[in-house]
């Protein structure tokens, strides 16, 4: 037996359209065609009344309610009266319930595709708004940080230690792995070419300077952006979704002060240490290649490295990493605080935090390169 209900339309005189309903009405069988009813209502001579008749109904579910509701809607739009007296009481009540709360005016959404000019305009406005928001945030954070000096800020010291733990010691394994491999890769790339000139020993210079000046800080920054920046965004984003941030605001605690500042402080304290550590491990990675492949002795390699790099290089790298730490923490927290109200928005916030963090690091790296060059460092 088919699970799609039967509908028979007959005209009773000029003014009445009779809709006879029978059979089994199940959602699984698909919905009955509403178009035939529509045509019948619209065809001349226009009926003034639509009356339902119920034949043998073997069983029904929402599909029949949908049908009755839809027909009533069609009739209503065209000013045709509907007579539902013949319907079973329960069915009539269900249809009435569906009509109990009329649609509010202006609620339904209009999905007109905007023109390309519209879209460009909207994008431009959104970009400006986003930049303004970032600048605002930066300004607020600067003001909040100034309050730090006389010790007027309110946050929990425990939080700072928690974030230090998360972004310092717990990051060591991944920083070790990546830095060691970067050292190895740099040494490998240099080894082949330098050996042709019998200048293998300069692998130590090459690895040392590259790691200590740039790569240590940049690689640590990128690791931390992916690891900690994303975590900050997800934490704050979830707090936004669950209204925890609103709860802080209502008791007079500012998110920037209570939530963002401890995270920035933790990263600013940890990044230089992680960078120093990454420098050390990176040089070790280079040494492993030099000793294993190029027959350079351990002491020679270390001496050559110490000759090549200066304290200025070291401090330059460490200074940069501190700035990267600020950028990572701020972009993570900014994206977290800008998070929407849904679970997917939290994912977007985390993604966006990593992208913003890495872009900021690379941009800062470029600026540092120019500034250091001009200063002759």
């Amino acid at each position: 037996m088919s699970d799609q209900g039967n509908v028979f339309l007959t005209r009773e005189g000029d003014s009445e359209l009779a809709i006879r309903i029978s059979g089994t009405w199940r959602l699984h069988g698909g919905l009955p065609p509403i178009d035939t009813v529509k045509t019948a209502i619209e065809s001349a001579p226009h009926p003034k009344l639509v009356r339902f008749y119920i034949g043998e109904l073997a069983g029904w579910d929402s599909s029949i309610v949908w049908f009755l509701n839809k027909v009533s809607e069609l009739c209503h739009q065209r000013g045709v009266a509907v007579d539902r007296d013949n319907l079973p009481k329960g069915l009539r009540r269900l249809v009435e319930l569906a009509e109990a709360v009329p649609e509010k005016k202006g609620v339904r959404r209009d999905f007109a595709t905007p023109s390309i000019v519209d879209r460009i305009g909207h994008r431009a406005i959104a970009s400006i708004a986003s930049i303004t928001a970032a600048l605002n945030f930066l300004g607020e954070m600067t003001l909040t940080s100034i309050k730090l000096l006389p010790g007027k800020v309110r946050f929990r010291a425990l939080d700072v230690f928690l974030f230090i733990q998360q972004s310092g010691p717990q990051a060591l394994p991944i920083v070790t792995l990546i830095s060691f491999l970067v050292g190895v890769i740099l040494a490998f790339i240099g080894a082949g070419q330098l050996r042709r000139f019998g200048a293998q020993i300069y692998v130590a210079d090459r690895v040392g300077i590259a790691i200590v000046r740039e790569m240590g800080a940049v690689m640590t920054g990128i690791i931390m952006a992916g690891r900690t920046g994303a975590a900050f965004a997800a934490q704050l984003g979830t707090m936004k979704v669950t209204q925890e941030i609103d709860a802080f605001t209502t008791i007079g605690l500012q998110a920037q002060e209570f939530l963002v500042l401890p995270r920035v402080i933790a990263l600013v304290l940890m990044m230089p240490l992680l960078c120093l550590y990454a420098d050390f491990i990176g040089v070790l990675g280079g040494a492993a290649v030099a000793i294993g492949m190029l027959d350079i002795s351990w002491t020679t390699y270390i001496r050559e490295t110490m000759n090549a790099i200066s304290l200025t290089h070291l401090f330059g790298g460490v200074f940069k990493s501190t700035i990267y730490g600020v950028l990572i923490a701020l972009s993570g927290c900014l994206r977290g605080l800008q998070c929407g109200k849904s679970s997917s928005a939290v994912g977007d916030a985390a993604t966006s935090a990593v992208v913003t963090g890495i872009v900021a690091i690379v941009a800062a790296c470029g600026i540092f390169a120019v500034v250091f060059y001009v200063l002759g460092i």
Binding site: L27, H28, G30, L31, L57, G59, W60, D61, S62, S63, V65, W66, N69, K70, P88, K89, G90, L91, R93, L94, L97, A98, E99, A100, V101, P102, E103, K104, V107, R108, R109, F111, V241, G340, K341, S342, S343, S344, A345
Partner: protein, 258 residues
Amino acid sequence: MPTDAKNKKVHITVSHLTMAFDSFVLMRDLNFTIDCGDVFIIMGGSGCGKSTLLRHLIGLNEPAEGEIFYGDENFTKADPGKRREVMSRMGVLFQSGALWSSMSLAENVGLPLGQYTDLRPAEVREIASLKLALVGLKGFEDYYPSEISGGMQKRAGLARAMALDPEILMLDEPSAGLDPITARLLDDLILEIRDNLRATIVVVTHELASIFRIAGNCVFLDAESATMIAHGDPKELLAHSQDSRVRRFLSGGEEKRQ
């Protein structure tokens, strides 16, 4: 379709159920049955384990002891495939609505329809619209859960629970956070669903007005003694219960503690 025929077949049987989190026993030795086509209320004070009992019935929590039967089927001991089949005949409204936040209301209601019926996408949307109209949300099809109020989210959750015309509807505090008129409409809807779609409805609530309007049967959980202390028609219980705690609860705290 007959609307008044009282079908007294047992739909759900809870047998010696003990609910526990590790060593903490929340409720012990619960025994009751839920009839087909009945509106069954789980009630009790805050934190006594009403929602947890509902989660046990749905299969989201495992009983520490005891069993739950659907018809003659042992749900607790059933294999995962059988469990999924029983669960597919259930519609659940969670306490917070639990709408999928990345989907519009029409998509929320339409997802089960798209997964479990052969309806075409346009038809799925039509039915989703109807279900939303039934809970008074006509026109809100393209809104996202974060764009509507808490009470509306709750109603949209109910529309999703009803999407497949389930045999069993589990509702966790359906009228909490609704204005009295909307709550009344919701009660009417629950009764219409029971009568017309012949669903068995299990409701967790402590809204007295709603309890007396819709309940056919109920179980009363008591946190202090960690078990059920009453089972039956709430109107009967109010009038004739031997237990003062039950009478006190059902009279809205008016009867003095003895």
